[in-house]
Symmetry: C2
Amino acid sequence: MNALLTDLYELTMAAGYFAAGKHQEVGTFELTVRRLPRNRDFVVVAGLHRVIDYLLNLKFEPEEIAYLRGLPNFRNAPEEFWAYLADFRFTGTMFAVPEGTVVYEGQPILNIRAPLCEGQIPETYLLSALTFETLIASKAARVANAAQGRDVVEFGTRRAHTPEAGVLGARAAYIGGCVGTSNTLAGFRYGIPVMGTAAHSWVMSFETELEAFRSLQQLLGDRTVHLLDTYDAIQGAHNAASLGKPLWGVRLDSGDFLSLSHQVRAILDAAGLQSAKIMASGDLDEYKIQTLVAAGAPIDAFGVGTELAVSGDAPSMGAIYKLVEIENSEKTRYTAKHSPEKQTLAGAKQLFRFPEFDLLSLQDECAIGSEALLKPYIVNGQLVTELPSAGQIRELASQNLSPWPQPGRRMELSKSLEELNESIFRY
Amino acid sequence: MNALLTDLYELTMAAGYFAAGKHQEVGTFELTVRRLPRNRDFVVVAGLHRVIDYLLNLKFEPEEIAYLRGLPNFRNAPEEFWAYLADFRFTGTMFAVPEGTVVYEGQPILNIRAPLCEGQIPETYLLSALTFETLIASKAARVANAAQGRDVVEFGTRRAHTPEAGVLGARAAYIGGCVGTSNTLAGFRYGIPVMGTAAHSWVMSFETELEAFRSLQQLLGDRTVHLLDTYDAIQGAHNAASLGKPLWGVRLDSGDFLSLSHQVRAILDAAGLQSAKIMASGDLDEYKIQTLVAAGAPIDAFGVGTELAVSGDAPSMGAIYKLVEIENSEKTRYTAKHSPEKQTLAGAKQLFRFPEFDLLSLQDECAIGSEALLKPYIVNGQLVTELPSAGQIRELASQNLSPWPQPGRRMELSKSLEELNESIFRY
């Protein structure tokens, strides 16, 4: 299942490792945040749940193997390779930084130690699954921070890169600090609070706006949110005010939010609806929210869609997955890439977090007074830990984000890691 | 299946339409490209295959209904609503612009005529499914155009917003003009050519680069592509040259492509390998490719990942899905939104393409000498046409893109459509 969801070269290399008799050599592969996304000082790790599900269920179906056999890349693959693929399972060990953890540039967030083919094939899936949710959780953290205690709801599924990405993005946004999502499946699947009331279509489907508002109130009672801007937001506010309670509040979805929110607040207050809230949505991001908050706009909650769902200002991040060591029956070799500006650090690593700085070391080192961030999840193909709920991960993220991480946190390399890599570079 | 993959407000409105006795009213909803993505003069439509699959299979599972019943939004929903959801199927009619068609700002690309709830619930899924693939196909068209006849291969799954989006992105990139993809599942599922040979891990897993290259040659023969930059690209080129044929060529994945490609070309030529090709990959987009091509870099093929997989310069587009008319047993009402800068045009429409301009009209108008772009796919819940293969769609896109569409193509509104909307605005 899902074993074809990878780049062809991973499978080509698997055939090559097998043909060269290297498939029993054990590699350690490391997934590292080589470069932070644009405009980011840190990222909030998310997406690990999918990596675990993938590794535990990775296998090739007979029709998938038949497909591969027909590709020219495998013309010279040894016959035994196909039997190997038919029995293929992930039997390796995977350490990772827990979801909800803040990490910085140059930090490894996952490593796999496994027979070469088992470590190679997952590369593509792991990079995509981890970086996508990490991007969204990180963007959500910025948006929630800009809202300074006001609620932010994730509204972005319609702009996500596939509806299914919207479900995972909703989970990541919740981890990063949103209070809920409009995505119903995310609520069903991950227990995230789901929110949302009515769209412009609702208002348009009735002869008059007043009739539409009244019907919504009958359905939703004190959860009613009137969408004001189908025809004219100020007239909409008067209509909402005339109907009074029960009412949660109103939503503005276009126009000048600063001016409109003040006008709408005055209309609601004049009708004795001081407890009614104002929500704003429509092309918002952390920059616009910060401006509105600073200007004192009387907005109680924000709905954020497009820019959150795709991490609009930074829709990708430069994570890499590289071989850092390889061992066969004779010896262990430490490996690194030396391409200009794309060098990697050889050796399986651990990342220790001290209160004031981080320490990147070899995997078997100790660092008293710190937390080892790369923790075991899968050992010899078996899940060895219970996975936290989305709510628990959100709580960890909240701790990691308080106080707000400062740019330029220091990371030191351990002496052993430095010495190992100096010896590699000489080679 | 998938019926919860929507915004909660779609389902809340469905309950409200039902409670208000409006669920038998028939709405026409229109999906329109309100604003083109940044830096785009047009888009290439893609993603319709998923919309069709979704509509034909849309239903609620018992456990999904049980989940909804527990949500506070549905506290006042009538009991009959739950029986209605249990039997819910899409019985409406869907017209759309075929995948591979070029469209411009303000143009509708899909409409649905269906009982209100059936037209409302799909909004979220349809917007996401269509806009994502459309973004990628459009980006691919630009990248392929910049390469001026050189092959472009899609390499971006690892940067896609989920691995599954990578599969669909690969299909869209192929439609837009890429010659193939690295995504193996896209090849298996859609019959797209799959490509790719080896990564840096391959080179590092051997004691020496020469040994790694030799092993790859044994596996791949004349499909061999040596990746040059694991340690030093020039030394890599010398190693590749020393091994000679069989060889497809070499790949540069970092560094100054213009300078390196000239040096590598000279090394290969000096070894009598004039037929060996040079591929470049790594942080490429249409702008960089255009520069390399204009500078005469001897590069025969490009691998494009990140920027293509997420449409990096324009990761979202402003498509909307709005109610344009609604009919009950008594009358038809034409509906539009009047919010500032977000007005919509009432009335079910057809889009006619003449050689020199496009005409947006009411659905039942005729326009001799033009092609009606909105074509029937689903009528009364049944698929009424055979769907084209990815290859056929790619061919249609190629025709649509030749000659390359110019910015500012004219779109006229028919007199009837204008008159209808003038009457609405007065209302």
